[in-house]
Amino acid sequence: MNDLEVFRKETREWLEKYCPVSMRKPMKSEKDQCWGGRKGTFQSEDQRLWMKRMAERGWTAPQWPAEYGGGGLSKAEAKILREELGRIKARRALDSFGVDMLGPALLKFASEEQKKRYIPEIVNGEIRWCQGYSEPNAGSDLASLQARAEDCGDHFLVNGQKVWTSYADRADWIFCLVRTDFEAPKHQGISFLLIDMESEGVSTRPIKLISGNSPFCETFFEDVKVPKENLVGELNKGWDIAKYLLTHEREMIGGFGIAMAGRETLGGTALRIRGDKGGKLQDGGLRADVTAFEIDEIAFALTLERTVAEAKAGHGAGATSSMLKYFGTELNKIRNEILMSIGGPDALAWGEDDQVTQVKHWLRSKGNSIEGGTSEIQLNIIARRVLGLPA
């Protein structure tokens, strides 16, 4: 048995022993997700145990360096861990913007001291992070942001407003883009700040969406004192970090919802709900739409696979994340449109407030091609950076 086979065997045994049985059942709603954090509550003792056990091994962030509490796994080992988790259908032990977004940026740009302080808290699910990027007048044109941080000797004084801050009302800390130089060209006067949401002067207000949910907030900063040591990277070089992070976010959103293995196929759903005539879906038009979608879905999943293979081989197409983000989100919207058609009038049922019905999924999917950079922004990036078309 080689090292990887040993790793697989040990991982399988460990998971068998320590992953609670209730954590191997599909989540019923978003409420079953575990986000950790100071304000976090657990749905069950099993959920708490599962997060704690995974965090202790660093497996909430399997490939991060062990010295900061990460799993320290190689790519091959992390792949085995994913496969073994998938084999027993384990729920994700910790959902976290810290793991998915901030952590990779800290590992690349933060000081040693910052890494030692913030990374273990993320791995252990102790601190829940949110992202303060967009502002009322800085959406697609993110770099025109106006939230300001003034240098007051030992601290920054932050004033301004962020919007579309995911789960700000439930987060402990926020990583924020703020303007620190008002004379410089817009991309060059931005800094990357970490702010405790409990600081005096920080407030949030949830935004109710067309789906009835409020996953996003407005976040206000009024004379908030932020220690100087909370600056990540160099002053006025925050845009580099923002770009790096946006790439991660795009990949996350692009892959979201569409590449879920083991899900019922759209054709299967259509057949189950609409019934068949001689083994075929009755409505030829619907059948054609489903087929076109399913072929694109296969092509997209293969493209994700190919992107990983190319990255490993050290050569990938430029702006891959823009392409994946654009296509993945547009596909998810199409999927939801077809699901609404399949369901017909029944699909319109709103349900209880906390019930995630098809109609709410459909409405939520419209945000996919807006958040993390709109589809149009992704197409701009491809046209300019990859195709080299003049501005």
């Binding site: 196929t265 054709g267 299967g268 259509a270 057949l271 068949d276 083994g279 075929k280 879906l281 059948r287 054609a288 489903v290 087929t291 076109a292 399913e294 072929i295 694109d296 296969i298 092509a299 997209f300 293969l302 493209t303 696979e305 190919r306 293979a309 190319e310 081989a313 197409a317 392409m323 654009y326 296509f327 149009e376 992704q378 197409l379 701009n380 491809i382 046209a383 300019r384 990859v386 195709l387 080299g388 078309l389 003049p390 501005a391």
Partner: protein, 377 residues
């Protein structure tokens, strides 16, 4: 399972590109057309000398045994320069049937001849009104040890060029049955066989072949009687995937030429490529092409790995590449605008060839119908 090329495959693609750019650029297609010809024996001989005709033929029969992924790269490069040859129909599609069905004796004669390019075969599978090969009606009557073929095959790719045909015919069952189909190898000059060809917009010819009591010997039967279906379906999948690769080449080349043109052409004092209306259309096409490439690579690998998903991937690839190529050539002509409508400019050749390649081995409607059937709805 790789979805990326290894060094050998990259080398093959690069050398094919160099060869085709030098020997058979689009200007060569124009030259053939203007002199009233559709193909060049010399070009095919040179391709065969490089081993293309034997790229999937086992080494023991004189082939390269390089696999279908490599073969697909060649098809794609041929798409880029619109090089015309019987490469797909003879060296890939027909070779696969001979390798799967023929007796050892037949193989030892046929495969080396295919691999050297001296023997060109064409698959005469299509009949009037059908794309589904199970609908084959061409009848066979036994006459002592011989067989007598009666019926008509249509739209035979390279039917004019081939020396002999592989003909799926009905020896049992009824039209619509997968059982009861048999392969016959029929020489071009067999008595009672009549070829009538049509020149198409892409300067290729497709043939209608009439079999009027064509008598063939028992040795012309390829494989067991009534058992042709599996290899026929596989051969057509190979054809569909190879044409998908060619369509990808056609689409990519038209796309790249268009992007270059957008950077050069000026209107209102600026390059037309600076307009966002064109940026987004170009970027969407770029994404579509990227998706097509993933499907084509996976489908080619599926042939090499004898995957059970072969048919599903073949139909996915042919549908997606057909639709994307249609979009690519339409955008190409539109974005070239006036000059794109002229015969003098090359871009129109891509539009014509894409239209024909989309028809070969089943169009998008046939393949999406088949996809839905395989998926069980």
């Amino acid at each position: 399972m790789a979805l990326i090329l290894n060094e050998e495959q990259e080398l093959l693609r690069d050398s094919a590109r160099d060869f085709l750019n030098g020997r058979s650029p689009v200007a060569f297609l124009r030259e053939l057309r203007d002199s009233g010809r559709e193909w060049s024996d010399e070009l095919w001989t040179e391709m065969a000398d490089m081993g293309w005709a034997g790229i999937v033929v086992p080494e023991v029969y004189g082939g390269l045994e390089f696999g279908y992924l490599g073969a697909g790269l060649l098809a794609e490069e041929c798409g880029r320069t619109l090089a015309s040859s019987p490469f797909v129909s003879s060296a890939l599609v027909c070779a696969s049937i001979v390798a799967a069905k023929a007796t050892e004796e037949q193989k030892s004669t046929l495969l080396p001849a295919i691999a050297s390019g001296e023997l060109v075969l064409a698959l005469a599978w299509r009949e009037k009104g059908i794309i589904d090969p199970a609908g084959t009606e061409l009848t066979v009557a036994a006459d002592g040890d011989s067989f007598v073929l009666q019926g008509v095959k249509t739209h035979v790719t390279d039917g004019d060029y081939a020396h002999a045909f592989i003909v799926p015919a009905r020896t049992g069952g009824a039209a619509g049955d997968r059982e009861g189909l048999s392969f016959f190898l029929v020489e071009k000059d067999a008595e009672g066989l009549e070829i009538e060809s049509t020149l198409n917009a892409d300067n290729h010819r497709t043939a209608q072949i009439r079999f009027d009591s064509v008598k063939v010997g028992a040795d012309s039967l390829l494989g067991e009687q009534g058992q042709a279906w599996a290899s026929l379906e596989k051969a057509l999948d190979i054809g569909a995937i190879s044409l998908s690769a060619e369509l990808l080449g056609i689409a990519e080349e038209s796309f790249e030429r268009t992007i270059e043109y957008l950077k050069e052409r000026k209107q209102f004092g600026v390059p037309v490529g600076s307009f966002q209306a064109l940026h987004h259309r170009a970027a969407i096409l770029f994404c579509e092409l990227h998706l097509c490439r993933s499907l084509v690579l996976k489908a080619l690998e599926a042939i090499d790995e004898d995957s059970e998903d072969l048919s599903l991937l073949a139909s996915s690839a042919k549908t997606k590449c057909g639709r994307t190529a249609r979009l690519a050539v339409n955008e190409a002509v539109q974005m070239h605008a006036g000059i794109g409508m002229t015969d003098e400019y090359d871009i129109g050749f891509f539009m014509k060839r894409a239209a024909a390649a989309r028809q070969e081995y089943g169009d998008e409607y046939y393949h999406s119908e088949r996809f839905a059937r395989i998926r069980g709805y």
